[in-house]
């Protein structure tokens, strides 16, 4: 079991959270969607695994590279 941290690809705000802690996700699955400069930017899982931590809620402002989600693979 390894932990994989997923960082924000942009500075922006969290628009929608699509998955929850405990969910199994596959590589490429959308975990949440950010909004920045009027665009929607999905945060995709980089590996197959289980979400063990979701650190943000809708409406929250995030910085680029800030860790938003932790997976266990």
């Amino acid at each position: 079991m390894a932990k994989v941290e997923l960082g924000s690809p942009v500075t922006g705000t969290v628009w929608k959270v699509e998955r929850a802690t405990g969910d199994s996700v596959g590589e490429g699955d959308v975990i949440l969607i950010l909004e920045s400069m009027k665009m929607e930017i999905p945060l995709e899982s980089s590996a197959d695994g289980v979400i063990v931590e979701l650190r943000v809620k809708p409406g929250e402002a995030v910085e680029e590279e800030q860790i938003l989600c932790v997976l266990e693979t």
Partner: protein
């Protein structure tokens, strides 16, 4: 044993002397230094060459060379610190120069500069690539010191740092690279850096002395600086072996010289996972995606060699193959800055277009950009000039250029990404939208200073959106084809065939061969 000064041994012993001299040179800077490198997991100069070349193909040039400006150093300069020769890689000839850091920090001297010059001249005249394994402390001292030292060593080769792109050059930064190994890396078409290495004008010690502050080598010229901020390196790796493998891979896409077409390899189907391009690119114009998936859905599986992935990330550049033929990919990446091209993206595009044009590699432009990044930051970094460098490079190109508008193509960026006659063929996907400005902003620009209610603005926006659809471009033949996303690979493969440069045997005009290697 005083090997080098032992000149004039008995004539009968000449063969034995040759043997001894060779053995002495092959021992490089001595077992102690070589062992330290082994313990650190770093290859030495000769091992680097051995890993790089086809077995049995290497023939050395200047094995018995030693220091000549400072005679006292003859006994401590085996091969004069730079190992050079000719070999084959993947069955094709190359010239190679590997800095031997165990000998006087692989510093540049009178003799070893002659060695580099010779290998470079032969590679150029006879038409094969030149590869540098960089690791050197800079000019040798005291050889270069003083007016006599300068007059003797530097500047005697008026072609030393001229880059004409007659044959491909590749460089690996494998340790401390100051002076000539930094210069040659910057002049190369492809530069890979091993983490922990440094590429800089001068060493941290010298820099610290000059500015009176402690300078860290990673801050001065480490991989993060060069992969993210300067863009001076194309790829970053963890080990010497990976760096060497990447140089081999880079060469596999290129012709041996600029007067031949790139080599072909066995065609491979693209990665199955991304073959459904319509599913990769959302038709919701506000939703971004990673263009790497599109590229991987179009090119032969595993064939993308991306250049500068962490620099100017809103544009992806890389060599790849379509049906076994080398292509240069220039693709907007909406995942970064929504695909808006900044100064770094322009510099990256310019350098890549010049590389492809210089070595007869057709260009494929995959377009989805809202335009160029605007604002004070870019303007301070000469954004208009950078955009025009990129534009001029594309217009000077004589290799085939194919442009596919996947989604957005706006304003000047429409031209820079091959719109109009800036490519040989323009194809667009049905969801493409083309205009001078994004309707959201255009509505406000055209109604600036006037009273307009929300309903009127909405109606105007909708009209602009309708006018931006792909059919307008197809009707006036500004797009020669409208293609289904899933047909993109087939379209590109066929059009590359149509536009093959038959009359010149696949060779372009190379009008930018002497353009700079950095912008």
């Amino acid at each position: 044993m005083n090997q080098v000064s032992d000149w004039g041994a008995s004539e009968l012993d000449q063969l034995r002397t040759l043997d001894e001299r060779e053995q002495w040179a092959l021992r490089m800077g001595g077992e102690r230094k070589l062992q330290r490198r082994r313990e650190a997991g770093i290859l030495n100069a000769r091992e680097r060459i051995e890993h790089f070349v086809d077995p049995g193909s290497y023939i050395e040039s200047g094995l018995l060379a030693v220091s000549s400006a400072v005679l006292a150093d003859r006994d401590s300069t085996p091969a004069d610190a730079k190992v050079a020769g000719f070999a084959k890689v993947g069955g094709r000839p190359v010239g190679v120069v590997a800095n031997d850091f165990t000998v006087k920090g692989a510093s540049s001297s009178l003799t070893n500069m002659k060695k580099i010059a010779h290998v470079k001249r032969v590679a150029t005249d006879r038409g094969f690539p030149l590869v540098f394994f960089g690791e050197s402390s800079g000019a040798r001292m005291p050889d270069n010191m003083g007016a006599r030292g300068m007059g003797t060593l530097l500047g005697n080769d008026p072609q030393q740092y001229v880059r004409q792109r007659e044959t491909p050059w590749a460089s690996a930064i494998l340790g401390q690279c100051y002076g000539s190994s930094a210069w040659y890396s910057c002049l190369s078409d492809f530069t890979v850096m091993r983490k922990g290495s440094t590429l800089a004008v001068a060493s941290p010690v010298l820099a610290s002395l000059a500015i009176g502050q402690t300078v860290d080598s990673e801050d001065l010229g480490g991989w993060e600086l060069h992969s993210r901020t300067t863009g001076l390196v194309d790829c970053v790796v963890e080990t010497d072996e990976e760096a060497i493998a990447l140089v081999q891979r880079f060469l596999s896409y290129l012709p041996s010289h600029n007067q031949e077409a790139p080599p072909c390899s066995e065609p491979l189907a693209p990665e199955e996972k991304y073959a459904d391009l319509a599913a990769v690119v959302p038709d919701n114009r506000r939703r971004v995606y990673d263009v790497h998936k599109v590229i991987r859905g179009v090119v032969d599986a595993g064939s993308l060699l991306e250049f500068k992935p962490a620099f100017g990330r809103s544009l992806v550049t890389g060599l790849a193959r379509i049906e076994g033929r080398t292509v240069g990919i220039v693709a907007n990446n909406p995942m970064a800055k929504s695909g808006a091209m900044d100064v770094a993206a322009c510099e990256k595009a310019t350098r890549f277009v010049v590389l492809c044009d210089s070595f007869n590699i057709p260009l494929v432009l995959l377009v989805d950009t809202p335009g160029f990044v605007i604002g004070i930051e870019g303007e301070r970094m000469k954004a208009p000039g950078k955009i025009m460098n990129f534009m001029t490079a594309l217009q000077m190109c004589t290799v085939p250029k194919l442009s596919v508008i996947m989604r957005k193509s706006y304003g000047q960026a429409y031209l820079n990404m091959g719109g109009g006659r800036n490519s040989d063929e323009v194809a667009a996907w049905p969801i493409a939208e083309i205009s001078f400005m994004d309707p959201d902003y255009a509505v406000r620009v055209v109604t600036w200073g006037r009273d307009a209610d929300d309903g009127a603005l909405q109606a105007l926006r909708e009209q602009m959106e309708r006018d931006s659809n792909v059919w307008g471009l197809a009707e006036i033949y500004a797009a020669q084809s409208v293609i289904r996303p899933e047909d993109t690979r087939r379209y590109l493969a066929q059009m590359l065939g149509v536009h093959a440069m038959r009359r010149s045997h696949g060779v372009g005009q190379h009008r930018m061969a002497s353009w700079p290697t950095t912008y």
